[in-house]
């Protein structure tokens, strides 16, 4: 068979049933095999970055590697952002790129770029396939790498003539599987349990690593048995349900005041699957100043990278937490929990007009009230993202898809399409802003074509809101290059793509219109006009300690 035939069949043997991509000169042999075999469903994106984020949406929901395909040259450069995003958020991805024929590589041929060189820093690993025979080892290995340890994106660059090359072999290779992460040493788990037992004011902090490992039940069991309140990073939201009495919500730059105050007072900080990102820690030397830090992570490079810990455990979050549940003593710690409850009562979030679907926070909260816990939530990047993180009542972790590390505007819509493809039985809601939606708005065509159950809730403030806010607060209100002088008619744009659209700003009963739009079939755009002057509060200024929060009323 040909290299292209082999590639497609190896993907089928990996259990891949949907791929997102765009064809071009360098991957046409591959596409021709897809057309002939008809086993894998291909979703045609309108831009390669959209294909990359659709694959991410599938991966973030299913936990299995998402697969995306591009041609050489601009196809590759267009998808790089989605790969970098997957790298920073540890999303398992397989990106297959066409390349010019081997003999033309290095000659600046038409649509040639150095895909291998470009992708090194933004993938977990990458391969340039030099012969069709190599596909037999490279494709299973790529899946193994994407799924094992700290998951991540893997790129496979296949020159066009390798796709056409004939190859014979006697036996199919076994599909690539995740390697088992070694168990941490018993004595370090025991020492960690002792530290928890001895602590007077412990806190557990859950991040994306805990979410990826499926640690929510174990985390909840440990928090309850050891009476440890649980903070979450942006990537860990949902690991403790928002309404759980031990949930502290999100820490960091836009966390609630009380959450950061609890961390200031804690004497043990058990960090699980977090990487001490600057948006989470604030000024890192002043983060958790009174705490013994214990760090659990699957990636040894993260241990002691930013914050030196008193002890660290390399391992899978779920496994470690399950062991700790067995080892810790059950306690009530009523004094500490009373203190946490007082701080929560006095310094929780205080959102304006939370019941009004036409307010910037209310549109998130009211939408949340109308949806069930099964609904998947994606966001773009900016004020609406932070408001969703703050105000949406997350019930479980895979419910929440957001671009955390790279902070990519344009993530939300294609990720929502990918999520809907992976979980066609549930509804997907994408919270977006007018700045972000424009960065991948062409994927509205894909959403309509695939008739996915995606609702876009668009907070339209006619500006780049979060940057506008920073100019407002720290650049003497010089709003430069952040206000759009043209008001885009997003309803007309959506309808132009064939998508239903509703404007809550002109609805007689906005709440009823919102409910009707959310409950309708197929994709829909829901526009909510909001004020450019609404800030996301509270906020820690960049570079300041987390205790130096601005804004957000206190209740005392």
């Amino acid at each position: 068979m040909t290299g292209a035939e082999l590639t497609v069949q190896l993907l089928e043997r990996q259990g891949v049933d949907i791929i997102a991509g765009i064809p071009g000169a360098s991957n046409l042999p591959f596409y021709d095999v897809l057309a002939r075999r008809k086993k894998i469903r291909h979703v045609l994106a309108r831009h390669e970055q959209g294909a990359g984020f659709m694959a991410q949406g599938m991966a973030r929901v299913s936990g299995r590697p998402g697969v995306c395909v591009t041609t050489s040259g601009p196809g590759v450069t267009n998808i790089l952002t989605a790969l970098a995003d997957a790298k920073l958020d540890s999303v398992p991805l397989i990106c297959i790129t066409g390349q010019v024929p081997r003999a033309m590589m290095g000659t600046d041929a038409f649509q040639e770029v150095d895909t291998y060189g470009l992708s090194i820093p933004i993938t977990k690993h990458n391969f340039l396939v030099r012969s069709a025979e190599e596909l037999l080892t490279i494709i299973p290995r790529a899946f193994t790498l994407a799924m094992s340890g700290r998951t991540g994106p893997v790129l496979i660059d296949i020159p066009r003539d390798v796709q056409d090359e004939m190859v014979t072999f006697t036996e199919w290779p076994a599909p690539g599987m995740a390697e088992i992460t070694p168990l941490p040493a018993r004595h370090s788990l025991e020492r960690c349990a002792q530290l928890i037992n001895k602590a007077k004011r412990p806190v557990i902090c859950l991040g994306g690593g805990a979410a990826r490992s499926g640690a929510e039940q174990a985390a909840r069991n440990l928090a309850e048995k050891a009476a440890m309140p649980a903070a979450m990073t942006l990537m860990g939201l949902g690991l403790m349900p928002a309404d759980h009495p031990l949930s502290l919500g999100m820490l960091g730059m836009h966390g609630a005041r009380y959450t950061n105050m609890v961390l200031e007072e804690c004497d043990l900080f058990l960090a699980v699957g977090i990487r001490f990102d600057d948006r989470a820690t604030g000024k890192v030397t002043e983060f958790c100043p009174n705490a013994t830090i214990v760090h659990v992570d699957i990636d040894p490079c993260e241990l002691d990278k930013i914050k030196t810990s008193a002890m660290s455990i390399g391992g899978d979050a779920k496994t470690v937490l399950e062991s700790l549940v067995e080892l810790v003593e059950p306690v009530s710690r009523s004094e500490w929990l009373d203190r946490v409850n007082i701080l929560r009562r006095d310094f929780a979030y205080a959102f304006d007009r939370i019941d009004d679907p036409l307010s910037s926070y209310g549109l998130v909260a009211r939408t949340g009230q109308m949806l069930d816990d099964e609904t998947l939530i994606t966001t773009d990047v900016g004020q609406h993202q932070m408001r969703t993180a703050q105000a949406y009542p997350f019930a479980y972790s895979r419910q929440w898809l957001t671009s955390g590390g790279l902070g990519t505007m344009g993530f939300g819509l294609p990720a929502a399409i990918g999520a809907a493809l992976a979980a066609p039985e549930v509804r997907v809601v994408c919270f977006s802003g007018d700045g972000s939606i424009l960065m991948n708005i062409q994927e509205m065509a894909t959403a309509v074509e695939e008739n996915v159950n995606v609702k876009i809730v668009l907070a339209d403030n006619r500006c780049l809101g979060l940057v506008h806010q920073i100019q407002d607060m720290f650049f003497h209100k010089r709003h430069y290059a952040t206000e759009y002088r043209v008001q885009v008619d997003f309803l007309a744009v959506a309808r132009g793509f064939g998508m239903a659209a509703v404007d809550l700003g002109i609805a007689d009963d906005p709440a009823a219109a919102l409910k009707q739009a959310l409950d309708g079939p197929g994709p829909c755009l829901i526009r909510v006009p909001v004020s450019a002057l609404d800030h996301v509060f509270p906020m820690v200024p960049s570079g300041a300690a987390n205790t130096e929060m601005i804004g957000g009323k206190s209740h005392v």
């Binding site: 291998y116 060189g117 820093p121 690993h125 030099r130 990636d299 040894p300 490079c301 002691d304 990278k305």
Partner: protein, 101 residues
């Protein structure tokens, strides 16, 4: 390289890596994008032809632990060892090649 080349102690790392054209990019890219200090690199193929040996002269500073962990994660790096040879020996062997050329 930087001023620290003359102030800090240095050591030599030996890596056994896959022998293919992209490996040097992986190693050098790791050092440059994470701002790790490397002052010299020697690379030559093993006799078998499937692996290569890379010697790196690196500073012994607070980054060394992170360098070792990051190198250990690279798929193309099979083995890694701190060699018991001095920076001077490394420099001399490098210079010897250069003069012969």
């Amino acid at each position: 390289m930087s001023d620290s080349a003359t102030k800090n102690p240095w050591t030599v790392l030996e890596l056994i890596v896959n022998n293919h054209p992209g490996v040097m990019s992986h190693i050098c890219g790791l050092f440059s994008r994470r701002a790790f200090n490397v002052e010299g690199i020697l690379c030559f193929p093993d006799e078998c032809g499937t692996t290569s040996r890379i010697l790196l002269s690196v500073a012994v500073d607070e980054h060394l632990d992170q360098i070792l962990k990051q190198l250990g994660k690279l798929e193309d790096v099979h083995e890694m060892e701190i060699l018991p040879i001095s920076r001077e020996m490394f420099m001399e062997s490098g210079m010897a090649f250069a003069r012969k050329g």
